[in-house]
């Protein structure tokens, strides 16, 4: 079987200490939470840290706290399963909870954390392969090489943003708290990512994500629609988060964020302006979906074919809008 390479494991006493250790060890070091993303990648030689700074044991990262302003702080070390089982989160942030429940499989959700999910590596089927395979096809710029195999003319890596929870967090207007050697700062989840599959996070390497700050629900309803081959395990090949605020049947505000259609989650809420101040109907939703899907740029680096994935973006947007509208907390999953 594939073996883990050798590494040192450090056990910091706090998130702040973890940040210190990261700063000390520089590019040799990596944070590990549930390890469900990182460890398989280490086995395949996609990342080769010599030092792992563990977060799993830190109680401070494992809290879900109701804030006075009506929002919630979810610790980065809270597992995806714990989010799914949390009654208040379930009631207030339906789309977010749904997205966390659709990540991989039950076993992986028991280990995988929400912080790890927000920071999960971008994916590409030229990259998520063993060292020997990548050597055979030719290394690419994300690791060990200098060109992009999918889009050879591209100056940047086009690996796919694959977090299921990030688009919903963005649609809800959430932010994250980062702790670095210099202290703490809060940034919107939307600005945590950039359009580069290699350097997909904007945070500094020595910053630890300590919590996700979900704003007060304030009438926002959210949904998440995920497209993939197998509902039991697969990463998204298209993901759509929608958040909507309604007055009666009239749409007051609507945000739409796409994932898995490019290197970063795409906020396409602009296209949803056509819905504001009116009731939803098929024609309007179809038109918005058509516009909102335009920036999606799936490439031949995931399964199911990029033409089909582009087509599905539109369909998934429609579905996400309709699902966000419904008030029941048990919306169906795709296919409707």
């Amino acid at each position: 079987m594939l073996r883990l390479p050798r590494f040192s494991y450090l056990r910091p006493g706090s998130a702040a200490e973890a940040a210190q250790l990261l700063a000390e060890h520089g590019s040799q070091a990596r944070l590990v939470a549930g390890g469900t993303d990182l460890l398989p990648k280490m086995k395949r030689g996609q990342v080769e840290p010599e030092v792992l700074v563990g977060l799993g044991h830190l109680g401070e990262l494992r809290q879900v706290r109701a804030r006075d302003d009506g929002g919630f702080d979810v610790g980065a070390g809270v597992t995806l399963s714990e989010v799914g089982a949390h009654p208040q989160l379930r009631a207030a942030y339906r789309g977010y909870v749904r997205a966390s429940a659709l990540v991989s499989s039950p076993a992986l959700r028991n280990a995988g954390t929400i912080g790890g999910n927000l920071c999960v590596d971008t994916r590409c089927n030229y990259y998520d392969m063993s060292y020997e395979w990548r050597q055979a096809v030719g290394f690419c710029m994300k690791k060990d090489g200098d060109i992009c195999r999918v889009a050879p003319a591209s100056a940047t890596c086009r690996a796919i943003a694959s977090s299921d929870t990030a688009p919903v967090a963005i649609a809800l207007g959430a932010s994250v708290v980062l702790v670095g050697p210099e202290g703490e700062r809060e940034v919107p989840v939307a600005s945590l990512y950039q359009d580069d599959g290699q350097f997909y996070l904007t945070k500094a390497d020595d910053e630890v994500l300590v919590s996700l700050r979900l704003p007060k629900p304030d009438g926002w309803r959210s949904s998440y629609v995920k497209v993939r081959s197998r509902d039991s395990i697969d990463f998204p090949v298209v993901g759509v988060a929608a958040a909507m605020k309604m007055t009666g049947p009239v749409v007051e505000a609507c945000r739409i964020v796409l994932t898995a259609v490019g290197p970063q989650p795409l906020d396409v809420s602009g296209a949803a302006e056509a819905l504001l101040g009116r009731e939803l109907d098929d024609a309007a939703v179809e038109e918005v979906a058509l516009q909102a899907a335009k920036p999606a740029r799936p490439l031949d680096n995931a399964d199911l074919g990029y033409v089909w994935r582009k087509r599905m973006t539109r369909i998934a947007i429609e579905q996400a809008i309709w699902e966000a509208r419904t008030t029941s907390s048990t919306t169906s999953s795709r296919p409707a």
Binding site: M1, R3, D128, S232, L304
Partner: protein, 796 residues
């Protein structure tokens, strides 16, 4: 499950009522497997074991200019390194295609081809050593498709035999007057189909461990064919067979993926001989994708002429197989794509042209259904299209052409028991196929198929039995030895049940020594659905002989005739089984009986190529698939599958149901998503996350219906179930999609993407079809015309 009842009046067992055969009993290996107590090859730990890793080619096609292992010797923990020079003898499962070496020293032919191997104290060290080996390659043009393989190569052909271009094998056979049949036809239809390759995906990765002590080399391996591995080791290692023992360790699934002798099996033996230590190799999942020997991608063209009432008058079937880099079972696989069309339908005139080409991909070979799922998909969908064209119900069209029991096909295959009518009736009835109500997006598809109960001929020419068995009885109990190999399909349970049935014991009373070339007599292996039929017969004969000895002695003691002695519930007449054994030993000394099985010699024809297809019997399956398709996305939702199978008679009804469900599952995976796809000469997704195979969420309910035809030659009337039930599932899925949306996807897998492309074509006013558009020019040889069997031979 609707298990059919046994019919005592047709019961061929002389003992009267069957106590165990046919009952849904737990498997003899079940508890250990569920508890995790079974030791698979990778679980075997011997003191001082070294671990082996391979250096594999990262070029699809290249000359090996040099292999420099000098950096390896300085790595602590390395015990030995092997290159192609150490194992120069070629081998291959088919005597006509011995084209592999355990390690290639002249040329590599696919990404993953083994070049060097290292034994070290642990896998990490062995891997590091492999990475320290320097290989100089001269890359050659990579052959990536059937079409490319048929034209002269830019550099050189992949192999130095076969040809022209990269052709491995060709066949052209004609049975009956085909042109005449087409001339008389009222309707003629031609269709093109493509079946993408896919792989077995056993849960257990191949693993082998060898030890060489006291002039005896022993290999434990996840192999379905210990006997063929035994022969290959003798040849490649230049050791007499008497000094080699191959043991098939318990399997976590085979499906045909462990039927070739493999490089890692030979290499661990050689390393064990060199180092004096046990040496183990367990392939990584990625390496299992390279070991492959899975389903061939096949391009197919079929032309059929029918009368106005839908009776088939002539058929011409062409296939082109992408064989990958080596021969493997390829010559047989190619002939299988043309052999079994006639075992379901009475085709009075039949022409088959086949070609297998070499390409620079992992070698293809036998996977569940070996060479027949691809043409079965094409044939069944083709018949659906004919039915639609001439306005006949698809089930009715098939019924009008079904073969009859006890006949001989135009290509000389002997048909005996045949439940094709019954499986059709039962599956149509249970599913409500003909009386369904229509709703948008909903579809149902129907298909039938048949499969062999063991190949009529062995893989290498010999006149010995195909299977042999010995039963020993003593104070120590009953020991049954037979080379038959348990690969998870339940063969151990079948053998134990048969012996227990005859000896009046329980299956768990029988100690089994199976899959062991040193301690058990030869059985050819677990392939071609042969074990229940062949080894079952051998065990029954051996057990009956033992029963005769015991009843004879008991009758003497009791002063009655042996015929009056009942053997049941641990008793032989009035004697406890153990006391009967003591009495027999007092009389005869050591007690052992034997049994063997050789298929009859009149199963097929005598033309060249006639060795592929004959079998002592054929199973029959029919499937109905019920699904919904979303017309906007092309995504499938399976509702239910009904599968009726002519099992002859189940030996263990529960195990049979398990095989049916497993076959349906595998068929659905192939139909919907599985693809051993390549890009830039490289396997596109060699991991279990990326190679999409269905999981429990995709698996619908399966209703298994067993039909009993009590085969005259199978043990207790039993036939095969390991492979047949997969076959009708794939065309039934394509047919159901057509039923739902009115489009045909003539290419497997039937993915959402292809469904949408067929719908797009239809929306634009074109043919609502997705599939291949042409069949390449193939330099087929001169047609071999075979006279069909005459009327006297036809009616058996």
């Amino acid at each position: 499950m609707r298990a059919a009842t046994t019919e005592p009046d047709r019961d061929p067992s002389p003992g009267g009522e069957l106590r165990l055969v046919g009952k849904p009993l737990p498997r003899v290996d079940g508890v250990a497997k569920v508890k995790g107590a079974t030791a698979y090859a990778d679980d075997i730990e011997l003191p001082g074991t070294l671990y082996c890793k391979f250096l594999r080619s990262h070029h699809p096609h290249a000359r090996v200019l040099s292999v420099d292992t000098s950096a390896v010797s300085s790595i602590t923990g390395v015990a030995a390194v092997l290159t192609g020079q150490d194992l120069p003898t070629k081998y291959g499962i088919m005597p006509t295609s011995e084209d592999e070496r355990a390690l290639e020293s002249e040329k590599v032919r696919y990404v993953g081809d083994p070049v060097a191997a290292v034994a070290a104290v642990d896998e990490e060290t062995a891997l590091a050593a492999c990475r320290a080996i320097r290989v100089e390659y001269e890359p050659l043009e990579a052959i990536e498709s059937i079409e490319q393989a048929l034209v002269p190569p830019v550099d050189e052909p992949i192999h130095d035999y076969g040809g022209p271009a990269n052709i491995h094998r060709l066949a052209a056979l004609e049975f009956g007057e085909v042109d005449d049949g087409f001339a008389r036809a009222d309707h003629i239809r031609e269709d093109l189909f493509f079946f993408e390759g896919n792989t077995h995906l056993p849960m257990e990765q191949h693993s082998s461990i060898a030890v060489d002590v006291g002039d005896q080399l022993t290999l434990w391996s996840s192999t379905q064919t210990p006997h063929y591995v035994h022969r290959t080791l003798s040849r490649v290692l230049h050791l007499p067979m008497g000094h080699i023992r191959v043991v098939a360790a318990p399997h976590g699934g085979g499906f045909g993926g462990k039927t070739d002798p493999f490089s890692h099996e030979i290499v661990v033996c050689k390393l064990a001989m060199l180092t004096g230590h046990p040496v183990k190799c367990t392939l990584t999942r990625e390496e299992v994708f390279y070991a492959h020997r899975g389903r061939h991608p096949v391009l197919m063209w079929v032309r059929t002429g029918v009368s106005s009432d839908g009776k088939i008058l002539a058929m011409h079937f062409r296939t082109a197989l992408d064989g990958g880099a080596y021969g493997s079972y390829g010559p047989a696989s190619m002939l299988y794509t043309g052999a079994l069309q006639t075992t379901t339908y009475d085709i009075p005139a039949y022409r088959f042209e086949g070609v297998r080409v070499f390409t620079n991909k992992a070698p293809c070979g036998p996977k569940r259904g070996h060479g027949t799922p691809q043409p079965r998909f094409a044939l069944e969908v083709h018949l659906d299209k004919i039915a639609e064209e001439i306005g006949v119900d698809p089930v009715e069209l098939r019924r009008r052409n079904y073969v009859k029991p006890y006949t001989r096909t135009v290509n000389w295959l002997r048909i005996t028991s045949c439940g094709i009518e019954e499986v059709t009736d039962r599956v149509v009835e249970a599913s409500g196929f003909t009386r369904r109500t229509r709703r948008p997006g909903h579809g149902m598809g129907f298909a039938v198929s048949s499969y062999m109960c063991g190949a009529g001929l062995p893989i290498y020419w010999n006149n010995m039995p195909h299977t042999e068995c010995v039963i020993q009885v003593s104070r120590g109990g009953v020991t049954l030895s037979c080379g038959a190999t348990e690969i998870g399909q339940g063969s151990d349970s079948v053998l134990a049940t048969v012996a227990a049935e005859e000896l009046g014991l329980w299956p768990n009373d029988i100690r089994l020594v199976t899959g062991d070339t040193g301690l058990a007599p030869v059985d050819l292996g677990s392939y071609s659905s042969r074990v229940t039929f062949m080894a079952g017969n051998a065990v029954r004969d051996a057990a009956r002989r033992m029963r005769e000895i015991l009843t004879g002695v008991a009758a003497e003691k009791m002063g009655c005739s042996p015929a009056e002695i009942e053997v049941r519930d641990g008793k032989v007449g009035e004697l406890a089984f153990e006391d009967a054994v003591v009495a027999a030993q007092e009389r005869f000394g050591a007690l052992s009986t034997h049994g063997s099985y050789t298929p009859p010699s009149n199963l097929g024809g005598s033309f060249k190529g006639a060795g592929v297809g004959p079998s002592p019997s054929y199973s029959y399956s029919a499937a109905v698939v019920d699904l919904d398709v979303d017309p906007r996305s092309g995504e499938l939702h399976l509702n239910k599958v009904w599968l009726a199978h002519d099992i002859g008679r189940p030996i263990n009804a529960l195990a049979v149901k398990g095989q049916v469900e497993g076959g349906v599952y595998m068929g659905l995976g192939e139909a919907m998503m599985e693809a051993q796809a390549y890009r830039h000469g490289l396997h596109k997704q060699p991991s279990m996350l990326d190679y999409k195979s269905p999981t429990f969420l995709e698996m619908p309910e399966v209703e298994t219906i067993l039909v009993e035809t009590i085969d005259p030659e199978g043990p207790y009337g039993a036939k095969e179930v390991g492979q047949g039930p997969l076959l009708p599932v794939i065309p039934a899925v394509a047919s159901a999609v057509h039923d739902a949306l009115g489009v045909w996807v003539d290419e497997v897998p039937v993915t959402p993407d292809k469904i949408m492309r067929a719908l797009d074509a239809k929306a634009k006013g074109r043919d609502g079809r997705f599939g291949p558009k042409s069949f390449p020019d193939v330099p087929y040889p001169t047609m071999v015309k075979v006279a069909p069997p005459d009327a006297a031979a036809t009616a058996l």
